[in-house]
Every structure is written in structure tokens, then in C-alpha cells.
């Protein structure tokens, strides 16, 4: 058996496996086109850092590539992808060393663009948003996660429950508690100021 014979076996025309590989590649490209922006936003809501959020989205699609055989079995690709990127950013956050809070706020403040407002108004708005973020970060973990995901109007409580691996009623309860605690914390902060 010569190497040429073996190479001859490899030099065949498109096999069914190769054809299936092409179909999955097209599907992954479609998923990138459709969901990459939303995945970035979900990742950013946790990382508060643009480059880390982009890394998380890339990692999510790499995992999709590695598990492309399962694509046909997934009913809701959006929820599936969000769950992947959500777990990635939570893992990164757990393993990352604590970063100065100022960096996060600086990155976050880039979300605000001063168009028709003065610099003072921009600064005040940025400060208020930063204070709210601090209070959000001080919420209990379960309530905080539900609150962050609730910001995405495309996601229902059932879908949020699927992403977090819990029930719809638990999501609703946590959301109610989160809003109540956040409101109380912000009122207390404003009274102190």
C-alpha cells in the first residue's frame, strides 16, 4: 500500500460529509450576520468593556463551529447563542482580576454621545448613569443577572429563564426584587446627596 494510493483515497470529489460541512458553514455565517450585534450587547452589559465583549462574541461563535453538528437540533438559535456568550462572560468575570472601576465607567461613558447637549449636561448624565451602575452591581447576583437581561426587550421572561437555567416564575420574582432593591438604594443615595 503506497502513500500515493492513500492520497488517492483522499482526493475524491465532494462527499456527503463535505456537503454537510458546507451547509453548516453557511448557517454559521447567517447566525453571525443576524445575532452578532445582540450578542455583543449582552456581553457588554456584563463586561462593560468593548474589547472583552468582542472576544466573548468571537469565542461564542468558535464554540458554535466546534459543535456545528448540533445546529440542526437547536430550536431557538438566539436563546442558545445568548446562553453561550452569557456563560463565557460570567466565566471571564470570575477568573479576571478586579479591574479599577474607573476603567469600566470610562468605557461605558463612550456610550453617551454629546450631540445637542452641553458638556456639563453630558457630564451630569454620565455621572447619573455611573451611579446607577454602581447600585446595579451591588445587587445580589441572581437579581442582577435577571435585571441585565431584562434590558433586552427581545427577550421574554421565559427566554431569560431558559438562558439562566431557571423557571419563568423565578425570573419574575427576581426581577421584582431587583427593581425594588435598586429603587430603594437609589433613593437612599439621593437623600444622602
Amino acid at each position: 500500500m503506497s502513500s500515493a494510493q492513500i492520497a488517492g483515497w483522499m482526493g475524491t470529489t465532494v462527499t456527503p460529509a463535505q456537503e454537510e460541512s458546507g451547509n453548516s458553514a453557511a448557517l454559521i455565517s447567517a447566525l453571525v450576520e443576524q445575532y452578532s450585534t445582540m450578542l455583543y450587547r449582552v456581553a457588554y452589559s456584563v463586561t462593560r468593556n468593548a474589547s472583552e465583549a468582542e472576544d466573548a462574541v468571537q469565542e461564542a461563535f468558535l464554540r458554535v463551529l466546534r459543535h456545528r453538528d448540533e445546529l440542526g437540533e437547536i430550536r431557538d438559535h438566539r436563546v442558545w447563542l445568548i446562553r453561550i456568550v452569557w456563560n463565557i462572560v460570567l466565566d471571564k468575570k470570575r477568573r479576571a482580576k478586579s479591574r479599577p472601576e474607573a476603567e469600566d465607567i470610562e468605557d461605558f461613558s463612550r456610550l453617551l454621545v454629546s450631540a445637542e447637549i452641553s458638556a456639563d449636561e453630558y457630564a451630569i448624565a454620565a455621572q447619573q448613569h455611573a451611579q446607577i451602575l454602581v447600585q446595579i452591581d451591588q445587587l445580589p447576583e441572581k437579581e442582577r443577572r435577571v435585571l441585565l437581561l431584562s434590558a433586552f426587550e427581545e427577550l421574554s421572561t421565559v427566554q431569560i429563564a431558559s438562558i439562566l437555567g431557571t423557571t419563568d416564575s423565578a425570573v419574575r420574582a427576581r426581577l421584582f426584587r431587583a427593581r425594588k432593591q435598586l429603587q430603594a438604594a437609589l433613593e437612599k443615595q439621593r437623600r444622602q446627596q
Partner: protein, 170 residues
């Protein structure tokens, strides 16, 4: 990343929902999709290269060790031949019984067979440890038919033979 707050934002307190909505409306950096596609195509190329290098490593190994390759090939051929021969022998029919005239040379060691066949006993107690198998031995002819293999099960109702096997022994 373009969020334009309302004009009167200085006099107004911003609600937590507004802050959260900033995340939901955050624009990703330019070229995100293109960078993802590039990364995915790099990963696919890596996977294909890894698969091809596994093949080339095997080819290189056997070409660098021709004796090992030859020995492996011969071993595989012998194994296949052995399987084939075993299958051939196991399915070969049993040789027919030797018919000898009583009293002739070599008759003592021959199998005595009645020309018209012998009547098989109705029930044969198994002598071996294999329960459920009825061993009739070679050369037992029933109604002139060919002898059955050892593991044959003999039906209980059989036509009576004209001569019994005992006559051959006399």
C-alpha cells in the same frame, strides 16, 4: 455606541431602565462581523490542517518503517486467511459413513450401516454435559437418508426400519 440623551437631561433624574437600555442599544465596534468571519475561517483551516497532518504522519511513519509496514500487512493477510479457512471448514459437510460388508477385512473398525436404515430410539438420554443437545454420533442413518450432524434433533415419530443396527453387529 451612539446614545443621545434628551435635551433636558440636566433637570431630570435618569431612571435605571434608561441606564439598562444603554446596553441594549449599544453599537458594536465597526467591523465586528468581518473579524468574527475571519476568526472562524482561521479556525476551520486549523482543523483541516490538523486532520491532514494526522494522515501525513501515519503515511510518513509507515514509509519510514517499511519492515513494520510489511509485517503489519502480512499479519493482516494471515488473519483474514485464517478467518476465511475457519469459515470454510465449519460449513463443510460431514463425510459419508463407510459401508462394509459384515465379516470383510476392516469391518471391525468400520461403521455398520443397515442398507434400509435403522430406527432411531425415541428418547436418547444426553450423555454429555451439554443439556438439550441430542448426540447421535456419526453414521446413524435414518430411513436411508444421509447421517445427521452431531447436534441434530431427531423427531420422535419415525418410520420403523426393516433391519435394525443390531443385525449388522452379529
Amino acid at each position: 455606541m451612539n446614545f443621545v440623551p434628551p435635551q433636558n437631561s440636566t433637570c431630570r433624574e435618569i431612571s435605571p431602565e434608561e441606564t439598562l437600555r444603554l446596553f441594549a442599544k449599544a453599537n458594536p465596534p465597526a467591523g465586528l462581523k468581518e473579524r468574527i468571519e475571519i476568526r472562524l475561517s482561521q479556525e476551520q483551516t486549523l482543523q483541516r490542517t490538523a486532520k491532514a497532518s494526522r494522515w501525513s504522519q501515519q503515511i510518513f511513519f509507515f514509509s519510514a518503517h517499511p519492515r513494520l509496514a510489511t509485517a503489519s500487512l502480512l499479519g493482516a493477510v494471515c488473519l483474514m486467511a485464517g478467518f476465511g479457512l475457519h469459515h470454510l471448514h465449519s460449513s463443510a459437510p460431514l463425510p459419508p459413513p463407510i459401508r462394509m460388508n459384515p465379516g470383510s477385512m476392516g469391518a471391525a473398525g468400520a461403521i455398520r450401516v443397515a442398507p434400509a436404515g435403522v430406527r432411531a430410539p425415541e428418547a436418547i438420554a444426553p450423555t454429555s454435559s451439554l443439556a438439550g443437545r441430542e448426540n447421535h454420533g456419526r453414521g446413524v442413518v435414518i430411513s436411508g437418508k444421509k447421517p445427521l450432524p452431531k447436534s441434530a434433533v431427531v423427531p420422535k415419530n419415525l418410520p420403523q426400519a426393516e433391519e435394525s443396527a443390531d443385525q449388522g453387529k452379529k
